[in-house]
């Protein structure tokens, strides 16, 4: 049911499925919580100023019991949360919640990112960081026309092939 909640949040459900999901939401407390958490995640990811701290306190209490996934890079400026992808939802949700936990606790969440970025820059969630095939080819083409290849030989190409593995991570 939870994937349906996230799909509902992203307005990706058929009308029939949407009303069934809303009915279920009315009935089940657990789903209501999921709904709230997804909103909180969405707000935090989009850096909306007014996400609820009351709710976050409750969420935080539950999070203390959950494992935290450290997310290597960063987050989207805005845009659709891809919770609708049923399989990815659980993993992504956890990664994102982990990040929310960190960001609520830490004064400077970006300190935790392996690579630091000024907060004004749009950044993309790692789960969305699986560049298309075209991008891999672009990386190789870029490398081939870079002067740094001349002083380091073929070594920098390791980036073009390493990226596959990064994109494959949850």
């Amino acid at each position: 049911m939870k994937p349906d909640i996230s799909a509902l949040l992203d307005d990706e459900l058929e009308p029939g499925a949407a009303s069934r999901t809303i009915d279920a939401l009315r009935r089940e407390k657990e789903l209501q919580e999921a709904w709230n958490v997804y909103h909180l995640i969405g707000d935090a990811l989009r850096r909306s100023p007014g996400y609820s701290h009351d709710l976050s306190a409750k969420v935080m209490a539950r999070l203390m019991e959950e494992p935290v996934l450290f997310v290597p890079a960063a987050l989207p400026k805005r845009t659709r949360l891809r919770f609708a992808l049923p399989l990815a939802a659980a993993v992504m949700g956890m990664a994102a919640v982990g990040w929310v936990a960190l960001s609520l606790n830490a004064p400077q969440p970006h300190e935790l990112a392996a690579r630091q970025r000024p907060s004004s820059q749009p950044v993309v969630h790692p789960a969305e960081q699986s560049p298309s095939g075209a991008l891999k080819e672009y990386l190789v083409a870029h490398q081939a026309h870079s002067p740094s290849g001349g002083i380091q030989g073929v070594a920098p190409y390791v980036r073009s092939v390493s990226e596959i593995r990064q994109g494959g991570r949850p």
Binding site: P147, V154, S160, V161, S162
Partner: protein
């Protein structure tokens, strides 16, 4: 007063050669590194670290009558390989069963680039020698390139004192943090290398592999219908190409390269297939990627420079009105 001026002038005369010697010496080291990378036979393993992950690869370089052969094999995880035979580079991605084939451009030779851009490089980077230390059991000379503005990253390069080969390379951001590092763990220079070891382990002729071979042709007119409203100081357009689209979809991509002599930025312009394209950013090691839609085109701007640099260039692009 007059005496003070004379002293000043003398002082200046004494200081200036010391500075230029330092600078010139560091540039000579860069030349030496470039020459070593092309002329030496070597084989060794290096560790590549970025953003908390690290991978070890074996690299082998052979120069003989047939030219330059080079091979990189990733030893951790999926056995990816990059094989270069003179100007042709093949990247084998066994997980995807894909081979990406690319022909290197005119930047195959860094020394050829250096003389023209020596002054440029010094204009945008402060170049100096650092300490001598040991890397992979060899004495190495550190050369530091510190950017003079926020448009580029800093680079620390450690070169083998004897051969000039780069033993360690680090990319540094504006907060003086390492964002990427290559470092040899073990290296054998000028040993005997069996040519067989440079062959790819995969047979890309096999039916299971898909070959992505974008045919690029230099084009003087490439991108003349695009306006770059923002000029990045020090980055000069070094190439313009038309790329034949992938897998016969019939579209054509324009590829520009801008370089300051060390770092480079590629801009790819392709027709936008669907209208859903949203702004997106990615990163791979020190390479950042910025994507955005511009009218009916998708722009992909990438390079080993800070994201803000890519955005300045990419956001300043627009199609010329006809």
């Amino acid at each position: 007063m007059k005496r003070a001026l004379v002293l000043l002038a003398l002082g200046g005369a004494l200081v200036a050669p010391a500075y230029s010697d330092q600078h010139g010496d560091a540039l000579a080291w860069l030349q030496k590194m470039a020459a070593a990378a092309q002329k030496l036979n070597y084989t060794g393993t290096f560790t590549y670290q970025s953003g908390g992950s690290s991978e070890t690869s074996r690299i082998t370089h052979l120069v003989d009558a047939a030219g330059e052969q080079e091979k990189l094999e990733v030893l951790d995880g999926s056995p990816r390989e990059v094989v270069r035979s003179n100007d042709e580079v093949k990247c084998f991605l066994p997980d995807d069963k894909v081979v990406i084939v690319e022909n290197r451009g005119q930047y195959k030779a860094f020394p050829a680039l250096l003389p023209a851009s020596v002054s440029n490089l010094g204009e945008y980077y402060q170049i100096r020698k650092g300490d001598v230390s040991r890397v992979a059991g060899l004495d190495s000379q550190l050369v530091i390139l510190e950017p003079r503005d926020a448009l580029r990253y800093g680079h620390h390069l450690w070169a083998d004192v004897n051969s000039g080969l780069i033993l360690k390379a680090r990319t540094i951001n504006e907060r003086n943090e390492t964002i990427e590092q290559f470092a040899f763990n073990q290296l054998q220079i000028n040993g005997i290398i069996d040519r067989e070891t440079l062959k790819p382990r995969f047979d890309s002729e096999g039916k299971a592999w898909r070959i992505h071979n974008a045919r690029a042709s230099q084009s003087l007119s490439a991108g003349s219908d695009w306006l770059f409203k923002v000029q990045l100081p020090g980055f000069k357009k070094s190439a313009g190409m038309k790329r034949q689209a992938r897998r016969g979809s019939g579209t054509e991509t324009t590829h520009f390269v801008f370089t300051d002599g060390l770092a480079s930025i590629s801009v790819f312009i392709e027709p936008l297939a669907d209208q859903k394209a949203e702004k997106a950013t990615y990163s791979v090691g020190a390479i950042n990627v910025y994507k955005r839609a511009a009218g009916k085109h998708l722009l992909t701007v990438l390079g080993e420079v800070p994201m803000a640099t890519l955005m300045r260039l990419g956001d300043g692009m627009e199609p010329r009105k006809k």
